[in-house]
């Protein structure tokens, strides 16, 4: 597969993040997604086991109830495999680029997209961190525009300090051509 060749991993400290270099997301993002996948699979397993037990208590152990339980287990295993195997694949197809004009995001393994958010169109930006993201030192940058269909563009999997640097660069107040 012709995955995106990211040139540099990290912008040298002190230099501008807005150098137009295509960068991959933080590799720890893969670990984060895999861990999330394990947690989700665990929750799904517990739910399926509990549900199957209840069903058998209510209906008795019949061929039908065993079949349903087995089917659910197969679904959960497939889901778990997908959740845990997919992140390293999709990671290779995600990258971002910041330059003086704005932010560009590439993503998608099969259905690929390139999204350009012009800096002059940004209304406001969020940098958010969930509990797991905080453990890995990662953050999600969300850019809001005045658009309708696509007014919220998210870029997860950034190191927290990089997310802040990009945000500071994208803030309209930091430019000559402020809105």
């Amino acid at each position: 597969m012709d995955d995106i060749q990211a040139v540099e991993a990290e912008a040298p400290a002190g230099s501008s993040i807005a150098d137009g270099v295509v960068r991959p997301l933080d590799p720890r993002y893969v670990d984060l997604l895999i861990q999330t996948g394990w947690i989700a699979s665990g929750v799904a397993t517990v739910l399926v086991l509990a549900g199957s037990t209840l069903m058998m208590l209510a209906r008795g152990i019949t061929a039908g109830s065993l079949g349903v339980a087995a089917g659910l287990c197969v679904v959960v295993v497939l889901l778990a495999v997908w959740l845990i195997r997919w992140p390293p694949v999709s990671y290779r197809f995600e990258s971002y680029r910041v330059d003086a004009d704005g932010l560009e995001i590439r993503r998608g393994v099969y259905f690929r997209s390139v999204t350009t958010v012009p800096r002059s169109r940004i209304q406001h930006t969020d940098v958010s961190q969930g509990p797991l993201q905080r453990r890995y030192g990662l953050a999600t940058l969300t850019v809001h525009t005045a658009g309708t269909e696509n007014s919220e563009v998210e870029l997860p999997g950034l190191p927290h300090d990089v997310a802040l640097r990009i945000r500071d660069h994208l803030l309209p107040g930091n430019t000559a051509d402020a809105v």
């Binding site: 004009d101 997209s113 350009t116 800096r119 169109r121 005045a146 658009g147 696509n150």
Partner: protein, 501 residues
């Protein structure tokens, strides 16, 4: 000049009327003494009117607005106090509605709209006409004075000349009514009213026997499927009723258009467009030209036969603040317009858009096959699902649907095209109903390039560009090189133009 103002004192009357309009009829019934015992509760319900009345009076007394140098400030509320600052340059429109009572008393219901969502940012009901004029002057006068051209005009002491862009005489409204059937609205309302008084069931009972009054659709279904076909009398009656329905609905449509859109006109005064229409309820809507995000020209086969089209504009919706991101679709800026007048009209709405200079560029030649493949798969699935429910008999539908798909895909692939000029990007699409969208490059927001596995197999890509009002650009089935060029062009244009509210 920063003194606070109040609404017109008639606000109290109008607001009480607004809140209790629904209660008015039962109230009259009760007062006339015709109410049965079950209606007696209405009398007790009157007790609830008192606090509402107090709330309306309090609302009036606490409502203040003032003009600050850069913003409109509105204070309201006695217990829950609220102060809202609306910068003038965020205000999209000031809409004024006058119903008959408003016109008799010389006041107007005013809604101040900004880019954020469905609800108006401020509702001032009601203001005197002079106050409305002052508001328009202060809000838009200031905004437009910021532009150099306007400033020069003001310095020269020349008022911006008002130019009539569109005027619809009754004849055009008849054509409009024949093309876009609004009669159903009236008929649906009438139907609801008549069924209230069980006029229909009596009518049907008389002509079709008692069974019919039990429910027109159930009876129809029964005669079709159970009783082995309808009788001659029912067929004739049904056909006549259908014809009559078509005729009457068009007639109602004409009446509706003549009343609702009476004297429809669009004038350009300086940097604003003003649409005015209505016989009973006079509507005046002001749209600053620089707020227009995209223009959509739509024509159906009927429009083309009669040499007409209709034009819509979208102004900014989905503001950056607030969760309510509904776009503000104005219904029409031109409900109907001669096709020859469209280029001139468009040029007035989008400066720099010259429809005749567009060089339309077709999409990838493989688009037809892609569309047809997609439609065929959908058709087959639909028919397969239907056959599960209704038996194998429905498979004869498939060839008909496929033939329609071939025709539609062929027409759509032939018409689908895009164009760019230094100022705007345009696209057109549609099989039978043609839609052309024109958006100024300076209004584009997020630009995206998509590539599905099917796109990659045929070396195609799909470009979308979002605007603040919805109705953006969305061109599928582009050859990859073309897509890359268009993507680069739109992204660069969006990045290097300033987006102004």
């Amino acid at each position: 000049m920063q003194s606070e103002r109040r609404l017109h004192p008639l606000s109290i009357i109008f607001n009480i009327g607004k809140r209790f309009g629904a209660l008015l009829i039962p109230l009259l019934v009760v007062l006339a003494g015709r109410g049965s015992d079950e209606d007696r509760w209405n009398v007790y319900a009157l007790a609830f009117l008192v606090p509402y009345g107090v709330a309306v009076v309090g609302g009036y007394l606490s409502f203040r607005y003032r003009y600050e140098p850069g913003e409109l400030v509105i204070r309201r509320g006695l217990i829950f106090r609220n102060q809202r600052h609306i910068p003038y340059d965020r205000i999209q429109n000031i809409d004024a509605v006058q119903n008959i009572l408003h016109r008799l008393t010389g006041v107007v219901d005013v809604k101040v709209q900004t880019a954020g969502g469905k609800e108006p940012e401020a509702t001032l009901s009601v203001l005197s006409l002079a106050d409305l004029d002052e508001m328009r002057r202060r809000v838009f006068g200031r905004a437009t004075a910021a532009t150099a051209r306007e400033a020069a005009e003001l310095a020269g002491g020349v008022a911006p000349p008002a130019r009539v862009l569109l005027h619809l005489p009754p004849r055009e409204l008849v054509i409009f009514a024949l093309i876009e059937n609004r009669g159903f609205v009236v008929i649906a309302a009438a139907f609801g009213l008549l069924s209230e008084f069980s006029v229909f069931s009596k009518f049907l009972e008389r002509y079709l026997g008692e069974e019919a009054s039990r429910g027109i659709f159930r009876t129809a279904a029964r005669t079709m499927f159970v009783d082995g076909g309808p009788s001659m009398r029912v067929v004739v009656f049904g056909a006549l009723a259908f014809l009559a329905f078509l005729l009457v609905s068009r007639l109602f449509s004409i009446v509706w258009a003549q009343v609702r859109l009476h004297g429809y006109s669009v004038t350009q005064a300086g940097e604003d467009l003003r649409a005015e229409y209505g016989l009973a309820t006079r509507v005046t809507a002001t749209v600053p030209i620089r707020r227009i995000q995209a223009v959509t020209i739509r024509d159906t086969p009927l429009h083309r036969m009669l040499g007409r089209a209709s034009v819509r504009v979208t102004t900014a919706g989905g503001g950056g603040s607030g969760d309510n991101k509904a776009p503000q679709h104005r219904e029409w800026i031109a409900p109907i317009i001669r096709r020859d007048d469209v280029p001139g009209f468009l040029a007035a709405l989008v400066p720099g858009a010259d429809l005749s200079s567009f060089e339309w560029r077709a999409v990838h030649p493989g688009a037809f096959r892609r569309m047809l493949t997609r439609a065929s798969i959908v058709n087959t699935i639909v028919v397969a699902l239907l056959s599960l429910v209704m038996g194998r008999g429905v498979w004869w539908l498939l060839p008909i649907l496929l033939a329609m798909s071939i025709f539609r895909s062929w027409r759509r692939a032939a018409y689908l095209a895009w164009a760019t000029t230094p100022d705007v990007v345009a696209m057109r699409t549609g099989a039978l109903v043609h839609v052309t969208t024109v958006a100024p490059l300076a209004r584009l927001q997020v630009v995206e390039r998509h590539e599905s596995p099917f796109d990659r197999r045929t070396a195609m890509a799909h470009i979308t560009a979002d605007t603040a009002g919805g109705g953006g650009i969305d061109v599928p089935f582009l050859a990859v090189e073309t897509a890359d060029a268009l993507y680069g062009r739109l992204a660069a244009a969006a990045a290097h133009t300033e987006f102004r509210w």
